[in-house]
Symmetry: C2
Subunit: 188 residues, 2 copies
DNA sequence: TAAAAAGTGGAGGATTGCTCCATTTACTAT
DNA sequence: ATAGTAAATGGAGCAATCCTCCACTTTTTA
């Protein structure tokens, strides 16, 4: 587990410890109360002053990004690792499905997924890169239209997740929807 | 212009007047500051006490639904009226495109579109009905897959609108995107 | 071990959400 | 017309949350 902000200077020992405490607390609180849980509560649970929380994670988005980071990194790696076993389209399908699963798991993340994915955290960056790679591969083999972008893909994932979160769509419809969207971007 | 809540007892004259004022103010403020604009500001602009606003629209969603209502009703009617002039697929395309336009116009509506459409307001209800009708017709002529639901369609509209709202995609690409996704639900 | 750098906590000002109820206004029945 | 009543109003005010700021503490460095 990385105890440093991906950005620059390494943290002082106590700061790194606190950062970790915050992330753990945040994960619990967010899973419990959704992505708009109060920062005060997170700080309290982490036994850290509110100031410390803000210093480390100036925006809600940066906190969400940090929490998602490891998972996204793992997702990207397994995706990369398996794609010689799957067709380009099937790879995208799998990756998108797993992404939805993660977003659903962090209740409320959906609404800010787009911003989070652009946050530059290693995992977020890696997963955007992986999405790009998947799309390019599929486009090169002629399976997907040329005019589809990574952002289009992220938007799909967002919309599917939102639907599940908000109007209580049955999560089992996820893969059906992913299919629909993917057929939409398929070349023909 | 309906001056009554769709639900029950008709409003008193002054209340109806105020309701209308609120809706007009809300439309302006929401278009200006997005769907999470403060209720206080809306009340102030409508020259109405905050209490009045809450009495009439207890939730943000109910306000959004009321604002969308007339427009959605109109959309449904024109859609119904023109469908002998358009192919089933073209009808859906047109309807979906107009829906996206409306959602874009109410900045921030996209994220709660699903919930709003289920609110039961006459316009929201009518447009869901119209969507259902369009889908069924297209499915009966074999133009669209059997496994596509109204909610799937709403989800797509959400995705397209989100894409435009969030990463500032050029709205002129809307119809292109609608095409993209409609191809996805086409039978083949 | 002392100076410098980094980090901390939480008080507090600002904003917003929402409730509550004394007062005002519109309807209704006579 | 008018009195009675039911509906509607406005905004004070409490609670929750956001986020900044800075006097103080802890770690690192030389």
């Amino acid at each position: 587990m990385a105890n440093a902000p991906h950005g620059e200077a390494p943290l002082r020992a106590d700061a790194a410890r606190n950062r970790e405490r915050i992330l753990q607390a945040a994960e619990v609180v967010l899973a419990e109360k959704g992505a708009d849980a109060s920062f005060d509560e997170i700080a309290k649970r982490a036994k850290v002053g509110i100031g410390t929380l803000y210093r480390r994670f100036p925006t809600r988005e940066s906190l969400l990004a940090a929490i998602s980071d490891e998972r996204l990194l793992a997702l990207s790696r397994t995706s990369l690792a398996r794609d010689d076993r799957l067709s380009p389209t099937a790879s995208i399908r799998a990756f998108a499905g797993e992404l939805v699963d993660h977003v659903i798991h962090c209740r409320g993340l959906a609404a800010s997924l787009g911003a989070v994915m652009k946050s530059g955290t290693p995992g977020c960056h890696a997963s955007r890169e992986e999405a790009r790679r998947l799309l390019l591969r599929a486009q090169d083999t002629g399976a997907v239209r040329r005019d589809v972008s990574v952002d289009d893909l992220v938007c799909m994932v967002t919309a599917i997740s939102l639907a599940i979160e908000q109007d209580g769509t049955d999560p089992s419809r996820t893969s059906h929807r992913v299919d629909l969207f993917l057929d939409g971007i398929a070349a023909r």
